[in-house]
C-alpha cells in the first residue's frame, strides 16, 4: 500500500510498507546531487536507463533530448510517477532492447532493497532470464514479455 509523506504542503514522497525510496528531508537536493555526480555520463549519452525510480525527482535533472528509461520493481511507484509527471521524458523500460547501447545509472536510494537484482540488470548484456522476467513483470500483455515468460518456464 503506497502512502504519501508530506515534507511540505507542496512536496511529498512515497512510502510503501514503511519504506522510503529517497531522502525524507530533502529529496530534491539528493536528486540534484545524483545528477551532478553523473553529469559527464548524462551529457555523453544519447540513451540512459536509470535503475530505481523512487519519488522520481532525479529524473527531472536529465535534460530533454535524451532517450530515458527507468526500471522500477514497485509498480505503485511507476503509477504514481506517471500520474504526477505525465509529460516526463523518462518512461518505464518495457523491452530488453531498450538497454542496448544505453548508459545505465543507478539511483541508490531507490534500489537498496533489491540491490542484487538491479546490479544484475546493470550487467547487461550478461543478463539472465529470471532477472529479465522480473524486470518486465509489470507488462505481461506485451508480446516481448510473453516470449520472455515462455522462456522462463523452461528454467527450473
Amino acid at each position: 500500500m503506497i502512502t504519501e509523506h508530506f515534507i511540505s504542503p507542496e512536496l511529498s514522497i512515497p512510502i510503501i510498507n514503511e519504506q522510503y525510496f529517497c531522502s525524507r528531508r530533502d529529496p530534491v537536493r539528493e536528486a540534484s546531487a545524483w545528477a551532478n555526480l553523473h553529469t559527464k555520463e548524462i551529457e555523453q549519452a544519447d540513451k540512459i536507463v536509470v535503475l530505481g525510480l523512487g519519488a522520481g525527482f532525479h529524473l527531472h535533472f536529465i535534460p530533454r533530448g535524451k532517450e530515458v528509461y527507468f526500471v522500477e520493481f514497485e509498480q505503485a511507484l511507476i503509477e504514481r510517477f506517471e500520474k504526477i509527471c505525465p509529460d516526463s521524458i523518462a518512461k518505464p523500460l518495457t523491452s530488453v532492447g531498450q538497454l542496448k547501447g544505453a548508459r545505465i545509472l543507478k539511483f541508490q536510494p531507490a534500489i537498496a532493497n533489491s540491490a542484487e537484482l538491479y546490479q544484475a540488470i546493470a550487467n547487461y548484456p550478461s543478463i539472465n532470464i529470471k532477472v529479465i522476467a522480473e524486470m518486465l513483470k509489470h507488462y505481461p500483455a506485451l508480446e516481448e514479455v510473453k516470449c520472455w515468460n515462455s522462456l522462463r518456464e523452461l528454467v527450473v
Partner: protein
C-alpha cells in the same frame, strides 16, 4: 482450414494422443493438421500417420542456451520469437493445446488463432476455463490424485473433441510374444529377474512361439546381463511398429510401447507400478489388460524417486500371476476367465 496442435510432452504422451489426432482429422476432414512437438521426438512422424506437418520445438536447445552464459539468453529469445513468428504467419484457424503445462499455456498466449482451446494464458493472465473437463484435468492430472477417467477421455472432452473409440485387440495366431523390459523411470520397471523367469516359463508353455525381450538400442547393454543376444530385439520406432503389427501379445510397463501396440491392434498386458496409473494412461484398447502393483504408496508422484527400501509395488506383481494372464489372453477367453477378479487386476476392456 488450418489446425495446430501443441503436444509438448514426452514420446509416450504423443503416441497415446494418436487417437485424438485421428479424431481431429475425422471432425475436420478438409483441414491441414500440424503438430508442434519437442524436436527430440520428431521420429514419431514415422509411426503416426495422418499429420500434415510435424514441427519441432527446440526445447532442449533453448534450455541449453538458458543454462549457459546469460548473454545466450538473448539468443534464446530470438530463436523462440522467430519460431512463433513463423507459426503465426501460417494463420491457424484452430489451435489445440494437448499439453497440460505452463510452457504450453504461455505459448498459447503468443500464438494467434481464431479459436484457441485448452490451457492458456491471455495477455499474461491464466484463463480460468469454464469447461468442467478442463477443471477436472487440472484437479486430477497435475497433482497426485486419482481419476475416474482416462487421460484421452478428459483431454478430448476438455477440447470439444469426440472421445475416440478404443481399438480392439486382435486375437492373433502368430508366433511372437514380446516382453518389453524398461520404462523411462526405474520405479516403473518390473524386475529384470522376473522378466527372465517369465520368459523361461513362456518358452516352456509356448514352444512354437518366439518369446523375445524388447528394449531400445540404448538399453541393450543392461538387457544383455539377463538375456542372450538371440533373446533380445532392439528395433527403431518404425521397425517396432511393423513388429507389433504381427505380434500376439506385448507384456510391458512402458506406456509408449503399450500405446504403439494398441494402435497396431496388438494385445497388451500392461504392468503398472511406480507412478504409472492404469486408469489415467493405460493403452486405449478394447481387450487389453493391466496388472497394477499392490502397495499403499502406489501410484506415487512422477517427480520423485521411490522412497521405499524395496520396490514394493513392483515386487507385488508375481511372475505366475503374469503368466496366468498371458495364458488367458492368448486363449481368447479373457472375458469369461478374467471377469470378476480383484480390483488390482483391472481390466480395461471390461471396466470402461
Amino acid at each position: 482450414m488450418k489446425i495446430l496442435v501443441l503436444s509438448l510432452l514426452r514420446l509416450g504422451d504423443i503416441i497415446m494422443q494418436e487417437p485424438l489426432f485421428a479424431e481431429i482429422k475425422a471432425q475436420y476432414p478438409q483441414a491441414q493438421v500440424d503438430v508442434l512437438i519437442n524436436d527430440q521426438f520428431l521420429s514419431v512422424r514415422e509411426i503416426i500417420p495422418g499429420i500434415d506437418k510435424w514441427i519441432g520445438f527446440p526445447r532442449n536447445e533453448l534450455q541449453a542456451m538458458l543454462a549457459k552464459n546469460p548473454s545466450e539468453h538473448l539468443l534464446a529469445f530470438d530463436k523462440l520469437q522467430d519460431q512463433l513468428k513463423e507459426l503465426n504467419q501460417k494463420n491457424y484457424d484452430i489451435i489445440f493445446n494437448f499439453t497440460h503445462n505452463f510452457l504450453s499455456a504461455r505459448l498459447m498466449d503468443q500464438l494467434t488463432g481464431k479459436d484457441k482451446r485448452g490451457l492458456q494464458y491471455k495477455d499474461g493472465i491464466k484463463l480460468n476455463s469454464q469447461n468442467q473437463w478442463q477443471v477436472y484435468m487440472n484437479e486430477s492430472f497435475t497433482e497426485l490424485k486419482g481419476s475416474r477417467f482416462h487421460y484421452l477421455e478428459v483431454l478430448a472432452n476438455s477440447l470439444g473433441l469426440n472421445v475416440p473409440k478404443k481399438k480392439p485387440a486382435f486375437l492373433r495366431q502368430g508366433n511372437k510374444i514380446l516382453l518389453q523390459l524398461f520404462t523411462s523411470d526405474p520405479k516403473k520397471n518390473w524386475q529384470l529377474e522376473s522378466f527372465k523367469q517369465l520368459m523361461k516359463m513362456l518358452i516352456q508353455e509356448y514352444p512354437d512361439k518366439s518369446v523375445l525381450a524388447l528394449c531400445s538400442p540404448s538399453e541393450l547393454s543392461t538387457a544383455r546381463k539377463y538375456f542372450s543376444e538371440a533373446q533380445i530385439i532392439a528395433p527403431t520406432l518404425s521397425e517396432l511398429k511393423r513388429i507389433l503389427a504381427n505380434t500376439d501379445l506385448l507384456v510391458s510397463g512402458d506406456t509408449s510401447v503399450q500405446h504403439l501396440a494398441a494402435a497396431q491392434n496388438c494385445k497388451v498386458l500392461s504392468l503398472f507400478m511406480g507412478s504409472a496409473d492404469a486408469i489415467k494412461t493405460s493403452a486405449w484398447q478394447l481387450g487389453g489388460y493391466s496388472i497394477e502393483g499392490a502397495a499403499d504408496c502406489y501410484p506415487c508422484a512422477h517427480s520423485k524417486p521411490c522412497h521405499q527400501a524395496t520396490h514394493i509395488c513392483g515386487r507385488s506383481i508375481k511372475v505366475d500371476k503374469v503368466l496366468n494372464f498371458v495364458k488367458v489372453l492368448l486363449s481368447g477367453n479373457e472375458m469369461e476367465k478374467l471377469h470378476g477378479r480383484s480390483e488390482q487386476e483391472h481390466s480395461q476392456g471390461l471396466s470402461c
